[in-house]
Amino acid sequence: MNSVIRDAISLETRRQFFGKTAAGLGGAALSHLLGNEALAASGANGFQHAPKARRAIYLFMSGAPSQIDLWDPKPQMKEWFDKDLPDSIRNGQRLTTMTSGQTRFPVAPSIYDFQRHGNSGTEVSSLLPHMAGVVDEIALVRSMWTEAINHDPAITYIQTGNQIPGRPSLGSWLSYGLGSENENLPAFVVLNSTWSSKRDAQALFARLWGSGFLPSKHQGVALRSQGDPVLYLSDPKGVDRSVRRTMLDGLNTLNQKHYEQTLDPEVQTRISQYEMAFRMQASVPDLTDISDEPEHVLDMYGPDVRTPGTFAYNCLLSRRMAERGVRFSQIFHRGWDQHGNLTGDLPLQARDIDQPSAALVKDLKMRGMLDDTLVVWGGEFGRTIYCQGKLSQTNYGRDHHPRCFSVWMAGGGVKGGVTHGETDDFSYNITKDPVHIRDLNATILNRLGIDHQRFSVKHMGLDQRLTGVEEAHVVRDILV
């Protein structure tokens, strides 16, 4: 049986599953029509369990922000300045070729001061004064870990569940399972941000928001960060909405006939994407026109907010998308790969994201949306306590470190004002409550009403899941 026919049969089966079982994820469509309250009242269990979050915003810090200088204070390290990292601590951790050739691994304590903040007393670096002001809203996980030591495998791993590319991204899984609450905007939108650190940044690839083996309509739609957010959004002169509609109606009919002959799901993707483009012609100008935002709201996000393409602007846009029912928006901010000149570059990076991230949390809370919007902040791995390159009292570099890093979550059924997990004195090994990136993804799915173990698609002989084949656990301690 050829694969196209097999796919068509599984699509038909899926359609039956959606249509007939209220216990299936088809309830998501029902929820879209009726609204969550009506869904609950109707007794239909549209999700695998009741969701806490209706939508999520992922602030992805590409390049690996240094946890030692931002979130994981190690004051004892001041006594270890320029002393070698003990073998007992390193314990055979493989190193990247960027430092494996070093003869010494001298400890570089953070030059930044950490203070306790909020009612929770969570310690935050002086580089993040605005985030320090919202610690009572966030759950800070200091015990994240991964196996990957290089960027592309690591970011592919955290986005898709495997270091080898080809699988659907988190956003695509959410689009596939939950759909969009707004038929005029994609379920999954990606925003790429400019960054301030003075070095080249790790590249990002469209496959990081790709749909893998899921129908390609679930891929992330990346808005452009310069110029028009969507190219060729406006119709040419002489084509008005009704002419465009006439053209699309005929096109859809012919494409639909083509689908019926070939049963190729990509034809359906094309039909739905053209329809989405038509709707985005109306919805995107409204989304990106921030002239209706009051001054006090814009001021919260900081001075960059009026400049399209900045992280601040993108945070504002993601709040607007949250209001408009976009299921998952993901903002990428690059430039965190401080192998050298950390004290020169990291403050610039922190300044890019500190105020807008805090503003986003506050803004959602002000609008009563924080309870059902999950916000996630983090990168793909951590950084080493030992110095890469030249160590001085005022500057140092850090190499990649997979064994521990820090991520925070807010809203969407996650506790505020808590920390989870601990690392040793060197911020090298986890001493308490390790959270693998699989566990983070399981938790994100859980808050949105999805059981990561049951949410799967049969492909290449496996029940493929975002969390893969190895064990993954929802981090229950930080859930509301």
Partner: protein
Amino acid sequence: HPGDTDSRTDYLSLALLGRELADDERVVVNNAIAQFHNTYTSHSSDAEALLVDDVNPTYTIHPTEKHDAAELATWTMITSQLMNLDESLTKN
């Protein structure tokens, strides 16, 4: 000119798809032709605007006695429609 319509449609489908349209497909295209022609006959300034090439003015299409703006605009849209078919865009 019904004769012209069929031969033009055949030209497009042979060039884009390597085949002639089936009868039910022809109906869809003919409907679109009629709708576009109606619209552009009653909105002649739109028709003319569509024929202008802002980027390269030498490519602007000028109506003639034989082919007025409405006809040219109509076939511009029909060509665009058929070029956007999944079958045109996806060559396996």
